[in-house]
């Protein structure tokens, strides 16, 4: 409960009489409050944000919102605060949503935060009200084609460590079966590159005819879109579609579920219509050919990426791959499949770490790591490039170093196939 705010003058003199301290102490009056609905109207009039007004305060979202488990945020609260006149555009609430889609899964009124958030955030970005660190990620993406601010010319440098051929399309000069869209973190992040190397070796071992765009590839931009930079997404989508259109291939395979989402739902609007699979979907039918011989006698739990699972309905492919590894004991966490909790990286969360820390008791990745430990897992298997680094940091910060390893499924498969 909020305490009444006392107002007290050190010393007051009334009619020549001194009134020190407690003799003049009073409490601030309760002001007449106002339901300033213009704020709500302003938000719901933004194209895409209309459904915020549909909320009838049932609170189902609060129960499943991962952010609310570590902070004071849920779609219900967002609606209510906006209805009460608190500007969403100026509120930290606007940046706490990871667009994990768990609320939409349960919302009886279909209040769609997946559309509301990018729409309102776009407005905030236009008004210059986005957190600094997010803008840095946008700026990096705009300049270098990746949010990390890494040199574009080095996008394919990881290939040198693969020790297997990874054809770059501009040099390959021939059609391929699979165009592998690598994405940023698998291209630049040290742990992301580990998964890329593993995947490259798996592709080679399986005899897949594949190629990558190399320096012609830029970030798919999906998370930037969810974080409110629609214009940046347009630019990236146009670029990637243009580059891809130069080459002949049968299908696209992506490492990143966020890119998967973009290729499935957004790129067709930019003329980029190709069959696309997440690499787990691509590999799952090839289990028998993968020669998975080296056992992994560990308890492994799998974290469903929001953009592979809830957003796009794929829960089985990663699990089938894990189950195919000899002696691997797959244990499920309480929150799994449809109910899986977010790692915190989606919807721009990847680039809002210090901002979000001010409004949450712990990182979502930390919460998830604690859950994995609670279920007795030795290995936390992931398949979204945001997650290896997020979870490995969380393993350290929660004091679970040595207890839990974080591995991309590609790494586990390559290990079992004795490729790494």
């Amino acid at each position: 409960m909020q305490k009444a705010k006392p107002i007290e003058l050190e010393l007051a003199v009334v009619n020549g009489i001194e009134l020190p301290g407690h003799w003049n102490r009073m409490f601030e009056p309760r002001v007449i409050s106002e339901y300033d609905l213009s704020v709500l109207d302003q938000v719901t009039s933004i194209e895409g944000a209309e459904s915020l007004g549909y909320c009838y305060q049932c609170g189902k979202c609060t129960a499943v919102c991962p952010v609310d488990t570590v902070g004071d945020y849920s779609p219900r609260k967002v609606f209510r605060r906006t209805q009460l006149g608190a500007s969403l555009i100026d509120s930290p609430d606007l940046w706490l949503c990871t667009t994990c889609r768990n609320c939409l899964r349960v919302c009886p009124k279909e209040v769609n935060m997946i559309e509301i958030m990018p729409a309102v955030r776009e407005q905030a970005v236009l008004e210059g009200k986005a957190p600094e660190e997010l803008l840095t990620a946008f700026e990096n993406t705009a300049r270098y084609g990746n949010p990390l601010g890494e040199p574009p010319r080095k996008r394919a440098d990881w290939v040198k460590t693969a020790e297997v051929p990874v054809p770059v399309m501009s040099q390959h000069k021939a059609p391929v079966d699979v165009l592998w869209f690598v994405e940023c973190y698998p291209s630049y992040h040290p742990r992301g590159k580990d998964a890329s190397v593993a995947l490259a070796r798996l592709f080679n071992a399986l005899g897949i005819e594949f190629g990558i765009l190399g320096t012609e590839e830029k970030c798919s931009g999906d998370s930037q879109r969810m974080a409110g930079e629609k214009g940046l997404f347009d630019m990236l989508a146009e670029h990637n579609v243009k580059m891809l259109s130069k080459y002949q291939f049968n299908q696209i395979v992506v490492t990143d579920p966020h890119a998967f989402n973009a290729f499935l739902h957004e790129y067709p609007k930019y003329g980029g219509e190709w069959p696309v699979q997440h690499y787990t979907q691509f590999l799952a039918p090839l289990i028998d050919q993968m020669n998975l011989t080296r056992p992994i006698p560990k308890k492994v739990t799998f974290h469903d990426p929001c953009y592979l699972g809830r957003h796009n309905g794929e829960y089985e492919a990663p699990r089938n791959l894990l189950k195919a590894i000899p002696e691997l004991d797959l244990v499920e966490m309480g929150h799994c499949r449809e109910t899986a909790y977010c790692c915190g990286g989606g919807g721009g969360g990847m680039w809002l770490d210090s901002f979000v820390r001010d409004y949450t008791s712990q990182r979502l990745s930390e919460k998830r790591v604690r859950e994995a430990v609670e279920y007795g897992a030795d290995i936390l298997a992931v398949t979204c490039p945001y997650e290896v680094s997020r979870f490995e940091d969380a393993v350290k910060s929660t004091g679970n170093t040595g207890k839990l390893e974080v591995k991309d499924i590609a790494e586990l498969l390559a290990y079992s196939a004795q490729l790494i």
Partner: protein, 355 residues
């Protein structure tokens, strides 16, 4: 002795009309008695549009009203009250009295009581809503009069209100007042009215302050969701306890229970969602016909259960609509049909038994 072939229906609201029509269509004489000068009852008299479909009341009820007036087997007596009754199933001797005091006696075989409800009088409440102090505090009924006239204005100054609040559960669900029931229709009517206000005054801000919204079945998306999503009306959980004049506005005070904070908000107009109570006529008929009342004061049904909604504890006497408790029009009209069937059946059964 063979019983009378007439069924007396007391009250010509939607329930009584439907009962009379049913009796007549089943081939018996329906004696329809109405204390007022016209038929149609509370909705016809007070409501501009019906809940939940917002159809204009007179247009919507025209067919049933004229059917009763024209039916050869219906004997309609306006401005007439039942003042006395004796006898039993098959042979009730009832005394009818018209406006001028003239009395006639009629023999009827069965009786249907459809005397309805009255709106709660907000002067009686324990909260301070100032209905008798401030013109801009209205009831749902007052608001309907405005809809009928096609103009929503603040009675105090004739200006269009910019901010309108509905306060739910006025006189309902209240132990202090003694009305421990939900009046069933007020959430729907308030939502319906809020849609109408938004249609007439698109710039107005409309609030509904509620304990919990109760809109069953199709009313949910027919009115509640419509009001909320497309009008839009602002539903705020937390009931208002006081309305006090502040300047030329009304200050409403309560707690916003979703946010757990006190609220003091200014409104131009406040509409009280007044609930239902048994009407004077219902109480009068309970007395005259010696019908036991259930614990809330409405006319009790035989078993008080859900399987027979129209038979009273007295054989040959049936109850329809809000005389038996809070009812919407759908329920009332359905009960009218059921009561007609049961009343005629009781005449037939009585005739067989006598034979």
């Amino acid at each position: 002795m063979a019983g009378s072939d007439t069924v007396l229906i007391v009250g010509a609201g939607p329930g009584g009309i439907e009962a009379a029509r049913g009796v007549a269509d089943l081939g018996k004489r329906a004696l329809l008695v109405e204390a007022k000068g016209d038929i149609g009852g509370t909705p016809y008299e007070y409501y501009a549009t019906l809940t939940p479909d917002l159809r204009e009341t007179h247009e919507a009820m025209h067919e049933m009203v004229s059917a009763v007036k024209e039916h050869p087997m219906i004997d309609l007596r306006l401005n007439t009250r039942v003042v006395h009754s004796e006898g039993e199933i098959g042979h009730f001797m009832v005394t009818l009295q018209d406006d001028t005091g003239g009395q006639v006696e009629e023999e009827v075989g069965a009786i249907v009581v459809a005397t309805g409800f009255q709106h709660f009088d907000p002067g009686r409440e324990t909260q301070m809503y100032g209905y008798y102090e401030y013109d801009d505090v209205l009831t749902l009924v007052d608001a309907e009069q405005m809809f009928k006239a096609g103009k929503i204005v603040r009675p105090s100054n004739g200006e269009e209100p910019e901010r309108v609040a509905f306060i739910q559960c006025v006189g309902s669900r209240d132990r202090q007042i003694g009305n421990q029931w939900c009046s069933k229709v007020c959430c729907g009517i308030a939502s319906k009215q809020s849609i109408e206000i938004k249609r007439m005054l698109p710039k107005a801000k409309v609030f509904i302050f509620y304990i919990d919204m109760r809109m069953y079945g199709f009313w949910e998306d027919m009115i509640y969701w419509k009001a909320e999503q497309f009008s839009p009306v602002n539903y705020v959980r937390g009931i208002v306890t006081e309305i006090i004049r502040k300047g030329d506005k009304l200050l409403i005070k309560g707690e916003d229970t979703t946010m757990g904070r006190p609220m003091e908000v200014l409104m131009d107009m406040v509409i009280l969602s007044v609930g239902m109570e048994p009407s004077k006529g219902t109480l009068e008929m309970a007395k005259i016909l010696q019908l036991p009342r259930e614990e809330h004061g409405f006319i009790a049904t035989k078993d008080g259960g859900p399987l027979d909604t129209v038979s009273t504890k007295v054989p040959g006497i049936f109850v329809v609509g809000a005389a038996a408790g809070p009812k919407d029009i759908e329920d009332t009209v359905s009960m009218g049909g059921a009561a007609a069937m049961k009343a005629v059946a009781s005449l037939n059964r009585h005739a067989i038994e006598v034979r």
